[in-house]
């Protein structure tokens, strides 16, 4: 309980700080650079979530423990939601900065493929009637799809040109001024906390649902 109150307070502080404490970055039209406090943490959470989903899948294939599958599925669903949020906010930013909602910049391409992969993952899960097969297939597909990610991250961007502001993509490069960096890291923390909280609730829901259906967890 105390954690939730702290998290909500922290989130509120971050949102206020994002608009009033940190100044707009140079090189962007107007106030658009403030998107970094929301868009980048969303993208980070989505990536982190897909990684967790992948770990859950691997664990399930080795241990055949339903808990690992709850993690894989819940993380994939949440990652999908955050990925969608990142796509929408990014698209609004793209409209404000580059003049069009969609430009097929490599990062936009890879996010669309990510959404397609996980959309297919959910379709596959819902199309297999048997519970255990469903879990195995989901895990196999998510691992197979993960194997193509290096191509999207390293190969495709090299054969096409990018529009993304590079130094806002990785906080390691010291291109932000100190106030911006503090708010940005605070926002990352807030989003990660929020994510872990929702994830925990989702996993609990999956467990409760599994009690409603017979023959799960007994195989």
């Amino acid at each position: 309980m105390i954690c939730k109150i702290l998290l909500i307070t922290w989130m509120a502080v971050v949102i206020v700080a994002a608009f009033f404490y940190a100044g707009p970055a140079t090189g962007f039209p107007g106030e658009t650079s403030r998107i970094v406090f929301f868009h980048v943490p969303q993208a980070w959470v989505a990536t982190f979530s897909f990684l967790l989903s992948m770990v859950g899948s691997l664990l399930y294939l080795t241990k055949r423990n339903p808990g690992a599958d709850y993690l894989a599925q819940s993380a994939a669903e949440l990652g999908f939601v955050f990925c969608l949020l990142a796509t929408i906010t990014g698209s609004i930013f793209a409209r404000a900065t580059w003049g069009s909602f969609w430009n097929w910049d490599p990062r936009e391409t890879s996010i669309v493929i990510l959404l397609m992969i996980y959309g297919a993952y959910f379709a596959l899960r819902s199309a297999v009637p048997d519970e255990e097969r469903k879990r195995v297939f989901g895990a196999v597909y998510s691992i197979l799809a993960f194997a193509t990610v290096p191509f999207l991250v390293f190969v495709v961007p090299r054969i096409t040109a990018s529009l993304h502001p590079e130094n806002t993509m990785s906080p390691a490069k010291p291109a932000m001024d100190p106030e911006t960096l503090v708010v940005f890291l605070g926002s990352l923390l807030a989003y990660t906390g929020l994510y872990l909280w929702i994830l925990q609730i989702k996993i609990r829901i999956s467990k409760i649902e599994s009690f409603k259906k017979p023959n799960i967890g007994q195989r």
């Binding site: 199309a127 297939f137 196999v140 597909y141 691992i143 194997a147 191509f151």
Partner: protein, 196 residues
Amino acid sequence: MFALTTLIAVSFSIGSFRIGETEKPFLYAVLLWIILVFSALSGLSRSFVKEREAGTIDVLRLSARPQAVFLGKLFFNLTLLLALESIIVPLFILLMEYKIESFGFFAAMIISGGFGLAAGTTVVAAMIAQASARGALFSALSFPLLLPLMITGIKGCERAAIGVGVTGWPEVKISLAYVIIMITMSLLLFPLVWEE
């Protein structure tokens, strides 16, 4: 058949004079790859469904090791795709008057692309044979996996047609790397999908 129909539709509606000379290499590469990928998607989805419908899937499970079954299906798909390509690609070149500067590169790109299409879809075909709504699901599952290959293939064919940047065959190397990764992953994952 699907491949031929699309090819004829494309050739009929676009012809070889509609597209400007400067845009030809790129647009033709895109069209060719769309035909290849979608005919692969429509043809290869059958490879395991066939076994299931004929009732031979259980015998296959009993009599052969999973890796052997996988490799057998992979080579079958590969042969099918290479046969398809050997008909479609020359026809496409003839009908569209596709001028290619670096022919070796182009051929290598198409062949390695065929390997990639077969490698990326075989495990998916094994999965959908045990699911409902097979045809639609196969395309939905395979397309994201094939997209990196498709982007590489389009770029490679475009370069081959222009004849710029073809030393060392960079795109062929990328797609061969894709083939190796996909086959390795599939060999590891296929037994899990195959077991009952």
